[in-house]
């Protein structure tokens, strides 16, 4: 497989990084992170005082039942949602200091999202879906096309590029979503139950792909879910309950899954 160099466009966040020159061992860090929803008169504490440090290149799995706040946490880490209290640092950058546009830039260039329901644009082909974030980043058309093709080949969908999501299987759609998350070469991938909507075999393949990307590209992964197989490849496993961490252990650290 030929490795195409990721296309670099001007990163509006770079100046901020240089200015802050924050050096940390942790690629993601949170301090006393809280997220409270108002559901009518009831306050729902989705995330309560989470302190988290994620090392560069780590494959971290957060386990929890549905409603444990793990998805909300993931959204907070990926600048998709804003905390009620506490701070999130992504690659040293304090997200609370960023405005709407800069947060969009964080999502565009610093983190990649993979979702349980794939969340592909239904009217765009696989190729078009992967090109989308590249277009948002104003990558020249030819480069974007090449980069998307290369990413789709890397996730094993080289031949299915011109199909729209409804013509692809669940596993294939998730591969497209993974390729899309890699588009602007982020160092962090946040995955929300990536196998939750896949059969056992396909789920295993996706976990394998994520782990492989983690191992070969040095990408940091934060994966939330309740698929026990995730723990076999994880470097570290955190269990979450009612918006807070309840336990932490070393993961299986295996490179392949059965």
């Amino acid at each position: 497989m030929t490795e195409q160099k990721p296309v670099q466009t001007t990163d509006p966040l770079k100046a901020l990084y240089d200015y802050q020159s924050h050096t940390s061992d942790y690629i993601i860090e949170t301090t006393n992170l809280c997220k409270t929803y108002e559901m009518g008169p009831v306050q729902v504490h989705a995330v309560q005082g989470v302190n988290l440090q994620v090392r560069r290149g780590e494959f971290l799995v957060i386990l929890g039942v549905s409603g444990s706040g793990k998805s909300t946490l993931l959204h907070l880490l990926g600048a998709l949602d804003q905390p009620t209290q506490g701070k999130v640092y992504v690659e040293g950058l304090d997200l609370s200091t960023l405005d709407h546009n800069k947060l969009a830039d964080v999502r565009l260039r610093r983190v990649g999202f993979v979702f349980q329901f794939f969340n592909l644009m239904p009217q765009l082909t696989a190729q078009g879906n992967v090109e989308l974030p590249l277009k948002f980043a104003e990558v020249p058309t030819a480069s974007a096309r090449g980069r998307a093709r290369e990413l789709l080949t890397r996730v094993g969908l080289g031949e299915r590029r011109e199909h729209i999501p409804s013509e692809l299987s669940g596993g294939e759609q998730q591969r497209v979503a993974i390729a899309r998350s890699l588009a602007n070469n982020p160092r962090i991938i946040l995955a929300d139950e990536p196998t939750g909507n896949l059969d056992t075999k396909t789920g295993a393949e996706i976990i394998h792909l994520l782990r492989e990307l983690n191992q070969t590209q040095g990408l940091t992964f934060v994966v939330v879910g309740h698929d026990q197989r995730l723990t076999t490849v994880a470097d570290r496993v955190i269990e979450m309950q009612d918006g807070a961490f309840v336990s932490e252990r070393k993961g299986g650290g295996e490179v392949t899954v059965q």
Binding site: H75, L80, A104, N119, M121, Q123, S181
Partner: protein, 424 residues
Amino acid sequence: MKFRNILGLSWANMRRRKTRTALTTLGIVVGIMAVVSIAALSGGFEAQITDQLMQGLDMDILTVMPGGGILGGGGLTSLNLNDTALIQNVTGVEATLPYSQTGTSVYNETGGTLDTRLVGLNFTDLEAVYGHKLQFAEGEYPGIGVNDSCMIGYLDDPIADVGDNITTEILVRVGMSFSFVNVSFIVSGVLDEAGQSGMLPLDRSVFVPLDTYQDLFNSENIDMILAKIDDPTQADAIADEIRDAFEDQVLVIVPSSIIDTVMSVFDIMEIFLLAIASIALLVAGISILNIMLVSVMERTREIGIMKAVGAKDRTILSQFLSEAVLLGVIGGAIGIITGWGLAYGMGLMLPLLFSGNFASGFTGSDGGGFGGFSGSSSFTLTPVLPIETIFIAIGFAILISVIFALYPARKAAKLDPVKALRYE
């Protein structure tokens, strides 16, 4: 995100819902079609009328009539020959032609009859003002001092030849009573066709010396004085000077002002019609608003996805606005083409409907009027659509689309990505 890419995505979205896109576009099409066809038809109408007036009016001839005065009150009730000198003195006036006229019937020796107008004027004045238009079919002007000769304007079927006698019956007032008097003239000349000639129709008229005319009617008064000017572009200034010379007690008609007056009536009519047609555009705008709101709701999840992978608020906003622009451009373009087609079709139909009364209404064959328009049989209406109108129409289509898309687009841009992603 680059504009081209935004447009590409918009196009993909519009293609995805072809029927809805087509129906939304249809609203714009109908609105623009109505506006364009009305603009094109009235444009054609204006061009037609202007053209006819320009032909019928000599731009270098001003008409001085009794009347005027402040706020239309007062003013002279009549003019006489001495007034000619006042006009002649104004700089820029080359020649003057005072005349009087009346509608009458003329009989020839064999009993043939013609409804016409009897015009009294001095033939030297006529030559000075209209000489370039006059050609004799036969004969010549009546000699100076000869008071029993006349000249006949062009007729398709001449009523008399040079040397023939013609008789006219005129109503004369003597004291308190009126009586018909028969007067005979010897024809000294017959004119060739002169075409349209503004206030004083040369064709179909019978001309007699002014002295004779005034004797017949026992009056020193003259109806009008035509003033030929050297520079038509100075018409308004010269007209002002003539008014000044008469202390504003006369009416001076500038040919271009007649056109302006007629045009201003058409403009008011056009604006009124366009205002009505614009309602169709407003309705189209509201349907865009409606469709876009539905579309934003349906695409909530997609908006969430776009935001999750890094789209900024303004990218979403421009996404929806560019769809509106595309709707406007496509609807506007189709609307202009169909509007033109409609105007063209109606241009062919209208003259058929109006040929009977419309055209003849302008063809004043007797006395007054503007000298009459050309025959009603040749009346056609070619719509006129200037390039500015096309751009304005497209611009308007886009403007309406964008204005009504602003609210839905903003709504889409402000969606909370987390909620949008959860939207089913």
